[in-house]
Amino acid sequence: MTSIARDLPAAPRVDREAVAARQARARRRMLGRGLLYAAAVLLALWVLFPIYLITITAFSPRDAVYDYPKQLIPGTLSAETMRFFVDAEGVLGALWNSVLVAVVTLIFSTLIGAPAGYALARFAFRGRDAFRLIVLSTRAFPIVILSIPLAVSFIEWGIYDTIWSVALMHTALALPFTVLITSSIFISVPRDLEEAALTLGCTPATAFVKVVLPLALPGLAAASIFTFVLSWNEVFAAVILTLRERTLPALVLAALNQSPVPFRLAAGWFMLAPSLIFIFVIRRYLLGLWGRVSR
C-alpha cells in the first residue's frame, strides 16, 4: 500500500465512490428526518384536532353545534354555549368542590410527599430503591378495588360524600408522583450548597429554608400544579365517594347521558383547558422527572 501511495501524484483525487456514498448518506438522513417529522405531525393532529373541534364548538352559538359539515373556522364567536353550561344546575357548586378538593389534595400530598422526596434525594437509607419502587406500585393497584372498601370506611368515619373523602383518595393517588417529582427536584439542588450553608452558621432546618427551598420552589410549584390537574381530572373515585357533593368531573359524567350536546362540549372544554395550560407550564419539570435532567 505504501509503495502505491508514493507513486500517486501529490494532489488528492476525488473518489467517485466516496462521493456517491456521501450523497446516499445525506439522502437517507433527509428521508429519515422527513418521516420523523411526518409522524410527529400526525400524532400532534391526532390529539389536537378533537381539542380544536371541542374548543370552537364550545365558543360557537348553540345552533352551530348541529351544523354539518363542520366549519373549521368558526363564523361567529359566542359565549352562549359556555353560559348555558355554567348556568346549569349544580355546575357552580361542583366547580367549587373541584377547586376545594384539588387544593386540599395539593396541600396534603405536598406535606406528605415532599419530605419523602427529600429523604429519597438526600439520604442513603436501607431499602431506598425498594421504597422508590413500592411507592410507584401503589399506582398499579386498581382504584376500583380500592374505592369500595374506602367508601365503607369513609361512611363509618362520617366523611363520605364530603370533599374530604375525595381529597384523601386523590392524595393517595397523587402521592407516588409527588414523591418522585419532588425527589428529582431536590436531587437537582446540589448537596454542596446545603453543606456550605451548614458551615456558615445554619442548622439543617435553616439551611433547608434559606437555600434548598428557594432553589426548589419553581419545581415544587410545578409539582403542585401537576397534583392539582390530577385531582381536577380524576373522575372515578369522585363518582364513587360522592352523591350530592359532586366534583365537576363527577357531575359531568353523571349528567352526560341526559344532557344536550352543547352542554357536553362546553363541559369537555371546561375540563380540558386548565390541564392543557398547566401541562404546558410544567412540561420542563416533567421531562426532568423522566430522566432528562435540565442542567
Binding site: 446540589p190 454542596d192 450548597l193 453543606e195 456550605a196 450553608a197 451548614l198 458551615t199 456558615l200 452558621g201 445554619c202 442548622t203 435553616t206 434559606k210 437555600v211 428557594p214 432553589l215
Partner: protein, 361 residues
C-alpha cells in the same frame, strides 16, 4: 489560638471501607497545612470531619483546645471553600458573602463594611450586585473565598479550590491565595491532589495514601527526603527515579551493583551489608555526560524531550529506565550512549520490600 489536633481519626464507609484510618495530626496555630494525595486517599473525608460534615467512627477532633468532635459545623468556628464553589445561585454576590454574617445576627452596617472589605481583598468590588450566573468561573471562586474569609474563622478549610479553574487562572489565583492567606494569618487546611499546588502553598504537607498519612513535613523535606517510594513517586515532576540494585562489599567498602555496574555508596546503608536495595534519585540530580567519566554509569539514550528550559532524557541502565534533566546544549540522540553521574548526597535508599526509606547517613 486555633491549633487543630486530630487523634486517632477513623472513618469507615459501608461498614468496611476505612476511608480514613487512625490519623493523628497536629496543625499549629496560623499554619498552612496541605493534605496531599491521589484521589480516594481520604484527604477530603478527613477535611470534612474537621468541618463537621462527617463524623468519625473513632478519634477526637479539637480546634483551639476545644473538643469539637460531636459539634455540628456551625459550632466549630470554621469556614470552608468547596471544590464546586457552592455559591448560592439565588443570591447576589453581596448576599452570598453576607450569608454567614447574617446568620450570626451582626448589625447591618457592620455586615456591609465587612462584606465590602472581603470583596475588596478578592477583587470582587464591582460585582457585588451581580448574580453568580453572571460571573465567570474564576469570579465565582472568588465569591466562595470571600464568603469564607469574611467570617474571620479560627480555621479556614479549602477543598481543591483551584481544581475547576483553567491552567493559567489557576497559576495566578494560586499566588493570590498564598498572599491572601499569609495576610489573614488564619490556620488553614488545604486539600489537593496537585503536588505543585501543595509545594507552592503549604507550610507543611501531609501526604496521604489509603486513609493514612504517610509523611508530614515541609515541602522541601518531603521533596528531598521522601519517607517511602510512594511519596518519592508522587511528588515531583518527573517523579523520582527508582533503580533496584544489590548491596556488595569490595575492598571493605559498600557498593551497590546495578546490572554489571557499580554505584559508590557514600556511607553505611543503615547497617545493611547485603541483599537488594532500591536507589532513588531525582532527574535534576543526575549529571549527563556525552563521554565516559570517572564514577559515571553507562547508559543508553531512549527518548529525548526538549522542554524549553531543559531536555528531559529517558535513559536505560541495563533494562531499568530513568529520567534525567539535561542542559539544552547536551548532545542527546536516541540510541546514543551516555554516562550518568548522580550527585552522591542526593541518592536516597529504600527497602525494596516495604518501600520505606533506609537512613543511610
Amino acid at each position: 489560638m486555633a491549633e487543630i489536633r486530630l487523634q486517632g481519626i477513623t472513618k469507615i464507609f459501608d461498614k468496611k471501607v476505612r476511608a480514613v484510618d487512625e490519623v493523628d495530626l497536629t496543625i499549629a496555630d496560623r499554619e498552612f497545612m496541605v493534605l496531599l494525595g491521589p484521589s480516594g486517599c481520604g484527604k477530603t473525608t478527613l477535611m470534612r470531619m474537621i468541618a463537621g460534615l462527617e463524623y468519625p467512627e473513632h478519634g477526637r477532633v479539637s480546634i483551639g483546645n476545644r473538643d469539637v468532635t460531636d459539634l455540628p459545623p456551625r459550632r466549630r468556628d470554621i469556614s470552608m471553600v468547596f471544590q464546586s464553589y457552592a455559591v448560592f445561585p439565588h443570591l447576589t454576590v453581596f448576599d452570598n458573602v453576607a450569608f454567614g454574617l447574617r446568620m450570626k445576627n451582626i448589625a447591618k452596617a457592620e455586615i456591609k463594611r465587612r462584606v465590602e472589605g472581603a470583596a475588596e481583598l478578592v477583587q470582587l468590588g464591582p460585582y457585588l450586585e451581580r448574580y453568580p450566573a453572571q460571573l465567570s468561573g474564576g469570579q465565582r471562586q472568588r465569591v466562595a473565598v470571600a464568603r469564607a474569609i469574611v467570617m474571620e474563622p479560627a480555621v479556614l478549610l479549602m477543598d481543591e479550590p483551584l481544581s475547576n479553574l483553567d491552567a493559567l487562572l489557576r497559576l495566578n489565583f494560586r499566588a493570590e491565595l498564598k498572599r491572601l492567606v499569609g495576610e489573614l494569618k488564619t490556620t488553614t487546611i488545604y486539600v489537593t491532589h496537585d503536588q505543585v499546588e501543595a509545594m507552592s502553598l503549604g507550610d507543611r504537607i501531609a501526604v496521604m495514601r489509603e486513609g493514612r498519612i504517610v509523611q508530614c513535613g515541609t515541602p522541601m523535606e518531603i521533596y528531598d527526603r521522601p519517607a517511602n517510594r510512594f511519596v518519592g513517586g508522587f511528588i515531583g515532576s518527573p517523579p523520582m527515579n527508582f533503580l533496584s540494585g544489590r548491596i556488595e562489599r569490595s575492598n571493605g567498602h559498600l557498593q551497590v551493583g546495578l546490572g554489571d555496574q557499580m554505584l559508590t555508596v557514600p556511607a553505611t546503608l543503615g547497617g545493611r551489608t547485603a541483599g537488594e536495595v532500591l536507589v532513588g534519585i531525582r532527574a535534576e540530580n543526575i549529571e549527563a555526560e556525552a563521554a565516559p567519566a570517572e564514577g559515571a554509569i553507562a547508559a543508553r539514550t531512549e527518548v529525548v524531550e526538549p522542554l524549553g528550559s531543559h531536555l528531559l532524557v529517558t535513559a536505560a541502565v541495563g533494562d531499568q529506565k530513568l529520567k534525567i534533566q539535561a542542559r539544552t546544549d547536551f548532545p542527546a540522540r536516541p540510541d546514543a550512549p551516555l554516562w550518568l553521574r548522580p550527585e552522591p548526597d542526593k541518592l536516597r535508599w529504600f527497602d525494596p520490600e516495604s518501600g520505606q526509606e533506609i537512613d543511610a547517613r
